[in-house]
């Protein structure tokens, strides 16, 4: 990818006001990419602050008779893979001379990761969050505030991640000269999908080495949940060149942008979206706030079309069952997002499987227990 497109997907569909900022970001990113000092700083932050490398855990009781390995991003500082991206973009923002950060958040994990890195680097932090998500993910709202971030409720439209993202972009349009938009997934206008992928690719690099060390061979399949798709693109990237490794993305059944979506433009990029025949964006619906998004990263749409990755769905009940089962069989409470990946991995016809356990489930206890007791 050199022109900001992945096949027909991607691009920069934003108001002109943002184009120079995207060009500046692209130039800053190219410089950082070629600067060993940038990667050394990230590596050392990863080791000493975030807790990298994260372990690869064999889930023996979860799926007896097969070898399902969990890539434990739930053990990363702040409890999810989101920190990989937030740390990298914060270092990048500092290089660009931006002292104010805006972000959107759905489940709150990206908001917490952003608030965390802003505290760590002394940056001003504003996080937009839909009112419905603030209700579902109360503990994360409190965590962001404790970390010194301002959480701005978004009280219109779906009151979820879609509107929070639009408001974060509107803030960025307004304050573009001082502000870096720290987008949380591999979505948005170019070069964001590429930046987020490259910052999350550490998951796949580590997982590949670890599974080779543990099994002496590559896995048959790599499975990850897909909302915007950042943990999935991160782990897929480690195995992209290994053509015999199946790459399986799992969407929430009520938010299957790749499964039932059509081509459209949302939040600055052309991708596969939940949209009607007029191009109006539809509401997604999932028990998992982190998957509750009608769009997806443009590179996933490209990987779907090319056939390199396959995308399936899991519904709320299947995710909840996997959530409970992993807790009971392995002593690990997953977030509801990767519980979707676990649900499909458990029935995949494959012997060795790596699942990206993208986050831990503490944030989901109220929501999940409410459903489980109600079932």
């Amino acid at each position: 990818m050199t022109d900001g497109f992945f096949g027909p997907y991607g691009g920069r569909f934003v108001p002109e006001t943002l184009i120079p900022a995207l060009e500046e970001l692209q130039a800053g990113w190219r410089q950082a990419q070629d600067d060993p000092a940038f990667w050394e700083e990230l590596d050392s932050l990863g080791r000493e602050y975030a807790g990298r490398p994260t372990p690869l855990t064999l889930a023996q009781r979860f799926s007896p008779g097969r070898r399902i390995y969990l890539k434990r991003e739930d053990l990363l500082h702040t409890g999810a893979h989101k920190l990989n991206n937030a740390l990298g973009q914060a270092v990048l923002a500092r290089r660009l001379g931006k002292r104010r950060i805006v972000a959107e958040t759905g489940a709150g994990q990206h908001g917490v990761a952003t608030a965390t890195v802003c505290a760590r680097f002394g940056l001003e932090c504003v996080v937009y969050m839909g009112e419905e998500d603030m209700r579902r993910q109360r503990p994360n709202v409190e965590r962001m505030r404790l970390l010194g971030a301002e959480v701005r409720p978004v009280d219109f439209g779906t009151r979820t991640l879609k509107e929070a993202t639009s408001e974060a972009i509107r803030d960025w349009i307004t304050n573009v000269e001082t502000t870096h938009y720290l987008i949380g997934s591999c979505v948005g206008p170019s070069p964001y999908p590429e930046i987020v992928r490259d910052l999350q690719a550490v998951i796949g690099r580590e997982a590949r080495e670890q599974v080779l060390a543990a099994q002496g061979r590559l896995p048959d399949a790599v499975v990850a949940c897909v909302g915007g798709g950042s943990n999935a693109i991160g782990i897929f990237y480690g195995f992209l060149a290994d053509e015999d490794v199946r790459l399986v993305g799992v969407e929430a059944a009520g938010a299957a942008s790749l499964g039932v979506g059509r081509t459209g433009v949302l939040h600055g990029a052309r991708s596969s979206l939940l949209a009607d025949e007029d191009g109006q964006i539809l509401d997604a619906r999932s028990i998992s706030a982190g998957l509750d998004y009608p769009g997806v990263g443009p590179e996933h749409a490209f990987l779907r079309d090319s056939g390199r990755a396959e995308y399936v769905t899991a519904n709320d009940e299947e995710a909840l069952a996997a959530f409970q089962r992993l807790a009971e069989t392995e002593g690990i409470i997953p977030a509801l997002e990767p519980a979707h990946a676990l649900a499909r991995a458990a029935e995949l016809e494959a012997e060795v499987i790596v699942v990206c356990l993208s986050g831990r489930g503490d944030k989901d206890l109220d929501e999940a227990l409410g459903y489980l007791h109600g079932l």
Binding site: R12, F13, P15, E16, T17, F156, V176, R270, G279, Q280
Partner: protein
């Protein structure tokens, strides 16, 4: 440019009024033209309008609830065309054109009476084949202003501020610098929009640019009906005619 006689067409500052597509739009457009509008923009609503502030966003939400999808918007455009003779310019977002087909959209919009198009999230380097009014902003480099001016359809839309649409307390101080740079680079007419709501702001913007675009405040006034809109547009017209 020194002449301020309103009877001399070339010196007259252009007044563009933005309305949201809907059942009332043709009558409102007629009232705006009676009040002195030279051009009417018709918003084709999109569910996620990134360039718009709360007033236009809410109007878009309402229009979508009322069923103003692309086909209904094109019918509204055609009906407006039957009632007024000024240029009509649909303003929308790329997602609608992706779904409808860019060429088909352009063809059908022009057949329904559109003079040009504005697509708020389609920068000049995307889809260069689609003839439309290009936008530039205070953040645009000279290189991008030049590109937009070369590709624009008739006039260049100067976004007066870094921000979304909606009324502001004062005219953006960024406009003067943007006009100065654009004048150096191109001869196309320059119309200023975003954050222009009062006659005073319109006059101040028209002292710099060749025309002004008024959107959010026009929508607010339009809710009171065509007569109120006619009076409001007339007050803007008078202010523009007083600009030098």
């Amino acid at each position: 440019m020194a002449c301020d006689d309103r009877t001399q067409g070339e010196a007259r500052k252009a007044l563009c009024i933005y309305l949201m597509a809907g059942p009332e739009a043709p009558a409102l457009a007629e009232a705006a033209v009676e009040g002195g509008a030279d051009l009417v923009e018709i918003g084709f609503p999109f569910s996620d309008p990134l360039a718009d502030g709360p007033v236009i966003r809410r109007a878009a939400e309402r229009a979508l609830r009322d069923g103003m999808r692309t086909t209904a918007c094109l019918e509204c455009l055609a009906e407006t065309r039957r009632r007024v003779r000024v240029p009509l310019v649909p303003m929308t977002y790329a997602s609608l054109l992706e779904a409808y087909g860019y060429e088909q959209f352009e063809r059908d919009a022009r057949a329904a009476g559109a003079t040009s198009l504005i697509v708020a999230d389609l920068p000049a380097d995307e889809r260069p084949d689609l003839r439309r009014v290009q936008l530039v902003a205070p953040t645009s480099t000279d290189e991008r202003i030049l590109l937009a001016a070369e590709r624009t359809d008739g006039w260049l839309y100067l976004v007066t501020l870094t921000g979304t649409t909606g009324p502001r307390q004062t005219l953006s101080p960024q406009l003067a610098g943007l006009v100065e740079r654009a004048r150096r680079l191109t001869d196309v007419p320059l119309y200023a929009g975003f954050g222009i709501a009062t006659p005073d702001q319109a006059r101040a913007a028209a002292e710099l640019a060749d025309g002004v675009v008024v959107g959010s405040r026009a929508l607010e006034v339009a809710e009171e009906g065509p007569a109120a809109l006619r009076r409001y547009v007339a007050s803007l017209r008078a202010a523009l005619d007083a600009a030098g």
